[in-house]
């Protein structure tokens, strides 16, 4: 279908807008039902889009009929359609969890959640870099409001840092875009990729400044080392469904880094070829290190999973720094795995916190669980998947990253760091598991409630992705390899998107 590529943006927009209007906005139950229906439609249309891209090749959707490079184009290629499907699946599972009761804490949870999904999908689909900025702002403003959902001192404190940092980030994004438009004269990413090779001398230096300003912004979103301080506190204080949805927000930053520094400033960019690599390389390694140290120092599961998000960001940035097809393919696989696994752990932490009374999810002696077997089993799966132990997807993802290193120097740096990072996660998560599940005293807390069926269903969906990614590992990795080939081949990722332009 011709309009399929815009559905992942339109569906959440329409549902979000309808839910703000009177008949539905007054009643939480009908909001819940329409949210689930909306997410279901979104999931189906994203899956259809993925199959269509797989069978017919990439889809270009010229908004308003204005052809690229003059109009804004939505590009549904293998990379973006995979990530859109990931977002839709994640949002559907989280919504199943949220409708069981976590959406009651504040007003307008459902519309805001829809707008957040719309922003993320739009950021993945757009082929225009200014449009990328606009979708970044859409997802950010929804995330500001969602972060404050259910209120509380900690949330306000975390939101203050998060909002101010991201506003400064948005200003830097616009400065970078202004410089790039001033030097290249276009904002269409495919067109930029072609024109950037012609820059030389002073103009090239100017464009380099703009490009590296953008790296700062994407690094802030992706929690790259000097800009990662906001992440643990923000993720740990957000309410569970929001924190789980935030698991994909760092991936939006990583995706933008891949899109901009592989397609536009990649191997074919003339004087500006691979300008981000010298920066990405040390910062990625330091991010993994700092994340691993944070994993050891975490006092509760939510901060622990936030630090694991930093480690996975670091691993993905390392793939961006290796800058080869194998590494990009590994990164795409690992991105799918780590998003779903960490979102699962965030939801699980919430259930655990509610069953332990005052101790919440801190690693201290406390009362036993209402459902020890169920939670223990779920925790074991999500922990093994995040550590990277076979037979779960973390293992395959990490092996793919380790195999993607090209030179001895890369191997010497990446192998120990990723393996030590896994060891840190192993130690921290097993210590957490033993404390939470085996060291308890007294009887079950009076106010503890067992997890509801929908909540279990949401967590089970997220956790089931991990063994499924291994079972269908060859299909998934073949798909990510094709997607990576597409990103690295300037003919297909730039020239084919512009009618009438040849190499």
């Amino acid at each position: 279908m011709q309009h399929l590529s815009i559905f992942p943006i339109l569906i959440p927009l329409l549902f979000g807008a309808i839910m703000l209007l009177p008949p539905i906005s007054r009643d939480l139950n009908s909001q819940r039902i329409s949210s689930i229906i909306g997410m279901f439609f979104l999931l189906i249309s994203s899956a259809t889009l993925l199959f269509q891209v797989e069978s017919d090749g990439l889809q270009i959707y010229a908004l308003g009929g204005w052809q690229a490079p003059f109009g804004i184009a939505l590009i549904a290629d293998k990379v973006s359609s995979l990530l859109v499907l990931l977002t839709s699946f994640l949002a559907f599972s989280i919504m199943l969890y949220a409708v069981a009761g976590r959406d009651k804490g504040g007003a307008h949870f459902h519309p805001l959640f829809m707008f957040q999904v719309m922003g993320i999908n739009g950021a993945f689909l757009t082929g225009d870099i200014f449009n990328l900025f606009v979708f970044f702002e859409v997802l950010l403003i929804a995330s500001y409001a969602l972060l404050l959902h259910a209120g509380g001192k900690q949330k306000t404190q975390a939101a203050m840092h998060y909002v101010i940092l991201n506003l400064v980030g948005s200003s830097l994004f616009l400065f970078g875009l202004g410089i790039l438009y001033g030097t290249l004269g276009t904002l269409n990413m495919a067109d930029m990729a072609i024109k950037v090779a012609q820059l030389e001398g002073e103009t090239a230096t100017l464009a380099k400044t703009g490009a590296l300003l953008l790296l700062v912004v994407f690094g802030l979103k992706a929690a790259m080392l000097p800009m990662h301080f906001w992440l643990p506190k923000t993720y740990a204080s957000a309410s569970a469904p929001v924190a789980a949805m935030f698991a994909i927000m760092t991936k939006v930053g990583i995706y933008s880094i891949f899109r901009v520094y592989t397609v536009i400033f990649g191997d074919d960019a003339g004087e500006l070829a691979n300008i981000a690599t010298p920066w990405l390389w040390p910062l990625a390694l330091l991010t993994i290190t700092i994340g691993s140290i944070g994993v050891f120092a975490s006092p509760n599961i939510r901060i622990l999973s936030a630090n694991l998000v930093i480690v996975s960001s670091g691993s993905l940035l390392a793939c961006a720094a290796i800058n080869s097809e194998e590494a990009t393919s590994a990164a795409l696989y690992y991105m799918v795995h780590s998003t779903l696994a960490s979102a699962g752990l965030f939801l699980l932490a919430d259930v655990i916190a509610r069953q332990r009374g005052k101790a919440e999810d801190r690693f201290v002696h406390s009362r036993p669980f209402v459902q020890p077997r169920l939670l223990g089993f779920a925790f074991a799966i999500s922990a093994m998947s995040l550590i990277g132990m076979p037979p779960f997807s973390g293992f395959v993802g990490k092996v793919m990253i380790l195999q993607a290193t090209q030179s001895t120097a890369q191997t010497i740096w990446i192998w120990p760091l990723i393996l030590i990072g896994s060891l840190a996660a192993l130690i921290a998560l097993s210590r957490a598991g033993t404390t939470l599940f085996w060291r308890h005293n007294g009887s079950v807390a009076a106010e503890a409630e067992p997890a509801k069926k929908l909540e279990i269903a949401g967590i089970a969906l997220l956790l089931s992705a991990s063994p499924l990614l291994v079972l269908f590992g060859s299909d998934v990795s073949e798909f990510t390899q094709q997607a990576a080939y597409y990103l690295h081949d300037i003919q297909s990722s730039a020239y084919d998107l512009l009618p009438g332009v040849t190499q």
Partner: protein, 121 residues
């Protein structure tokens, strides 16, 4: 003209960055506003500065690039919404946390309170 324009954008940016690095939420909000003014002017200039040039063909001998003007319009709208949000958030933080420091804790107060708890132990 270009020199003057660049100087103004630079001055606004410098003031914006200075104020954003302050500790109180009021000056940070003002800093963010100045930064967004600077960015809007900067974006506008990315289409090159021209005199007597309309953005519509056939209205004047020269014509200017209409795209940056559209971009600035988008950026202004977004910046406006974000400023409104951050003002409300700053007021909420002032009410919730009892002070207007961006960390939610006044630096000297923090020293005092830790001293107090030390005394109690």
């Amino acid at each position: 003209m270009e020199g003057m324009y660049a100087f103004c954008v630079g001055l606004l940016t410098a003031c914006g960055i200075f104020l954003t690095l302050r500790g109180r939420s009021f000056s940070v909000v003002i800093g963010l506003t100045l930064l967004s003014y600077a960015v809007n002017l900067f974006l506008f200039a990315s289409g090159r500065l021209k005199l007597n040039a309309a953005a519509v063909l056939g209205q004047s001998e020269q014509y200017s690039d209409p795209l940056p003007q559209a971009l600035v319009l988008t950026a202004i709208v977004i910046g406006f919404a974000m400023t409104a949000f951050v003002v409300i958030l700053a007021m909420r933080a002032r009410a919730d946390l009892g002070n207007d420091h961006v960390d939610g804790v006044l630096p000297d107060q923090e020293g005092e309170s830790s001293h107090k708890s030390g005394g109690n132990n």
